[in-house]
């Protein structure tokens, strides 16, 4: 089980590294799908199959598809890739990498100070999650619904006004 965890964790870390290093947006998003899938494997290993399914369906499915739609709608092309390569000089990585490494070293050293404790002994399935979600956390579910409504209204408001003058030019772009 530990072997599976280490393989999945390695895949997740390497694909995430490729996401933040890649200059082509579509390729980076495809690597992000692999990263999310590896995290889903880890969720399954820990005994949380419901969350693993949600990770694949919503993160690797819906959210990445939304990103891909926007990247393809903006139609950036090879010019943007060249510009990304020009922006990503090696010396730009020095400062953020040092800061991130300091943060990581501090938290990991704090975490590994005591003896390791076991986790994921028993599986917590969808039945228990659903019972708690619509029992104790019912108010939070309604608040989440309000948040989604706010997101919907905000997104539609931001897209609304420019649609009228842009509609002619948009149809010309289609083959």
């Amino acid at each position: 089980m530990n072997t599976v965890f280490f393989i999945a964790a390695g895949v997740a870390v390497i694909s995430t590294l490729l996401v933040i290093c890649h200059s082509n947006a579509v390729h980076a998003l495809l690597y992000l799908i692999i990263s999310f899938s590896a995290v889903a494997v880890i969720f399954y290993l820990m005994g949380a199959p419901f969350v693993a399914a949600l990770e694949v369906i919503i993160y690797a499915g819906a959210i990445i598809v939304l990103f891909l739609f926007v990247v393809m709608m903006l139609n950036l092309g090879p010019v943007a890739t060249a510009q990304e390569k020009a922006w990503l000089q090696p010396r730009m990585w020095i400062g953020p990498s040092i800061l991130g490494a300091i943060l990581l070293a501090l938290t990991v050293s704090l975490l590994w100070r005591g003896a390791p404790t076991a986790a994921g002994g028993a599986e917590v399935g969808p039945r228990q999650v659903g019972a708690a979600l619509f029992g104790v956390y019912l108010l939070a579910v309604q608040l989440a619904a309000l948040l989604m409504l706010a997101g919907l209204v905000g997104a539609s408001h931001l897209r609304r006004r420019e649609l009228l003058p842009e509609s002619e030019t948009k149809t010309e772009l289609l083959p």
């Binding site: 996401v19 933040i20 919503i58 959210i63 990103f67 490494a101 975490l111 390791p116 404790t117 979600l133």
Partner: protein, 102 residues
């Protein structure tokens, strides 16, 4: 089912979070910055689920569901803002937003 130490999951969550943080700091492309924020949110969700499984309770998974909801709403609004900025400025450079007024 053998048990997995909690520290493994939390360490992976911290590594992913640090990678997302470096991504936000390094990239100037707004789409990549949003992607890096997604990586950080996913790492936070991984930490929540790991801590929930430590006690064998469903609460961590429920917090992951709320993080998922928040990430979806954030991506919808963020991508709408990016599309609007691209229509106005014809770029998705993060520095272009410094010219905004009001």
């Amino acid at each position: 089912m053998t048990t997995l130490p909690m520290e493994y999951g939390l360490t992976l969550a911290m590594v992913l979070f640090a990678l997302g943080l470096v991504g936000v700091l390094v990239r100037r492309n707004l789409i990549f910055m949003l992607v890096s924020v997604e990586i950080m949110l996913n790492a936070a969700g991984l930490a929540f689920v790991t801590a929930g499984m430590r006690w064998g309770q469903p609460d961590g998974q429920i917090m992951f569901l709320f993080i998922l909801t928040m990430a979806a709403a954030e991506v919808a609004v963020g991508l709408a803002i990016i599309v609007r900025l691209f229509r106005q400025e014809n770029t998705i450079d993060a520095d272009a937003t410094s010219k905004m007024r009001g």
